[in-house]
Symmetry: C2
Amino acid sequence: MNGKIRIIQYGLGPIGIEMVKYLAERPAFEIVGAVDISPDKIGRNLKELTGLELPLNVEVSGNGAEVLKKVKADAVVLTTSSILERITPDIIQIVSAGVNVVSSCEELMYPWLTRPDLSRQIDEAATSNKVSVLATGVNPGFLMDFLPLALTGVSRRVEKITVERIQDAQFRRIPFQRKIGAGLTLAEFEEKKRQGSLRHVGLTESMHLISAGLGWELERTEDIISPVISEKDPNRATGVQQLGRGFKKGQEVITLRFRASIGEPDPRERIFIEGTPNLEMRINGGVNGDVATCSIITNAVPVVVDAQPGLRTMADIRIIPCRW
Amino acid sequence: MNGKIRIIQYGLGPIGIEMVKYLAERPAFEIVGAVDISPDKIGRNLKELTGLELPLNVEVSGNGAEVLKKVKADAVVLTTSSILERITPDIIQIVSAGVNVVSSCEELMYPWLTRPDLSRQIDEAATSNKVSVLATGVNPGFLMDFLPLALTGVSRRVEKITVERIQDAQFRRIPFQRKIGAGLTLAEFEEKKRQGSLRHVGLTESMHLISAGLGWELERTEDIISPVISEKDPNRATGVQQLGRGFKKGQEVITLRFRASIGEPDPRERIFIEGTPNLEMRINGGVNGDVATCSIITNAVPVVVDAQPGLRTMADIRIIPCRW
C-alpha cells in the first residue's frame, strides 16, 4: 500500500475508457482492476485498450467477484448501465466486499422514490459494510440539481426553481448528434421516441434530488419529450427538447428545460430561483457534458471513500472539488 | 420536546436581531434562548426587541453559561464578533455543553492556517463533545469560496480561480455606504484604512478555503485595499476595492476582486475557472449580502446539527439548501 486510493473500473464502453484516462492521470489514485463483460475486451491489457503511456498493468476481467477477491480496492467506478435494476446485483456484491461505489447510473441519482425497494437494499448493504454508494454526473448529478440546490443556500425562501440546459450540438461528436435525433424526419423522431432511445434519462431524478434537498413533497412530475423542428425543413428535427415539471399543491414549482440541437443560438446553463430574493445564474456557452461527467465522477472518488456509510445522493454529500 | 431544532441566539446587534427574524419564521426551529452583553438588552423580551408577532417568550440573558445550563438546545447561532480570539472562550463553553455552533465570524471560516492553536482547541472540544462548529456567511463563506469550489466539481484540472464580487452601494443602507468609505476624501480614506475599519474581513479566509478544497498549498497571500476614486471629484472615494491574491510556485493561482462603490455600472458575481475546461459563471446584479448572510446561517443550522463532529468549514460540509 502506498497511500493511494485503489480503484477498480467496471465497464469499458466509451465512458469507461474515458474514465480510465481521467483516473490514471491523478497521482492520488491507482487503478488496480478492470471489469467488462465483452468477450473482445476480457484478457486484454488496459494500456493497450486505452492507448495510455501510463504504468498500468491491469488485465480486463470478465468476473467482478474474482477481481474483488484478488485485489484490495477502496472504490469501484461503475459505468456499465443507466438502468438501476441491472446494476443492483453488482453494487451489492461490491459493497459486500467492503468497497465503495461511484457510479454514472442515472437511475441511481435519487432512487428513493422510483425504486424504494432497491434503494433500501443498497443502503442496508452499504451501511452494514461501512462503505458508501453515490451516483453522479453532469446531468443528472450536477447542473440541474446539485448546483441549483447549492445556490439556494443564500435564499431566505424558495418558491420555484427553473433550470435551463441549452446545448448547441453542432460541434459535438456524431454519436451525440445521432442520440438527440438530429436530422431525423418527424416520423422517424416519433418512432425513436416510442422505442425509448431518444430519452435523456434523469430529469425525474433531478426533480427528486431538488425536492429532497429542499424538503418538498412533489405530488407529481412530468417528463415530456419533443423534437426541435428545423427552420429550413419543417419536417425534420435538429435535435430534442425535454421538459421536466414538478408540482406541489397544484403549483409548478420545478421546471427543467433540456434542449440539444444543431445550431442552437444561445447555448447556456441557466438557473433561476424565484423566492426571497430572486437569483439568476448563467454559464454562457454551457458546460461540455462528456468532460464534466468524467470529471465529477473522478473528483467524487475521495469524497465517497470518506463519506458517511450508506446510499448517498448529491443532495446529502459534501461538495466535490477538483482536488489533485 | 417537539422535534424542532432548539436554538439559542448569541449576540443581538443588527445582524443578531435579523437572525432572530430569519430563525423564528422557520417551522422546524424554536428559539429557546438569547444572550447579549449589552446592559440595555439584558432582561428584555425578544418579542419586544425584534417587533415580531411570533410566539417568542424568551428573555435576553447576559450570562451564556446560565442559559446553557437552564435550557436544552441543539445549536447556538453566534453573531457577536469577527475576531476569532474574542469568541473562542464562548465557543468552548457552548460545545462543552454539548451544543453545536453556527457562527458568522469571518476569522472562523478557515482558521487552520491563521490560528492553528485556536482551531485545534475548538476542534478537540467539539469532537470530544460530539458536536460541530461551522462559520458561514455570504462572503466569506459562499460566493468567493464555496461556490467556486463547488463549480470545480465538473473540472478535469484547475489552473487558476478568479472571483469578482462587484456591488453597487447606491441602494444599500447608509451604514453600509459609510462602511465602504463612500464620500470620504482620499486622505480620510487612508486614515480609516490605517485604523483598520475599512477592511472587508475574509478574503484571506476565502483563499484558504479554496486552497484547502483543491488541495493547494499557497506559499503566500496578499490582501490589498484601495479606494474607488470618484470620477466627478478625483479627491474623493465612492467606495472601496480589495484585491486578494494567492500564489503557488510563484504563480498567482487565486485572484479575488471585491469592489463596493456608489454607481458601480455592472454589479455582479463572477467566477472564472481556468483549467480543463474553462468555465465562467455570472450572477448579474449580484447577491444582496445582508439577506444572503442571514439566509445561509439559517439554512446551515440543520446541516451543522447533523454534521460530522469537530470544527467544520464550508470546504468539508455537505451542501446547505434552503430547507423549510
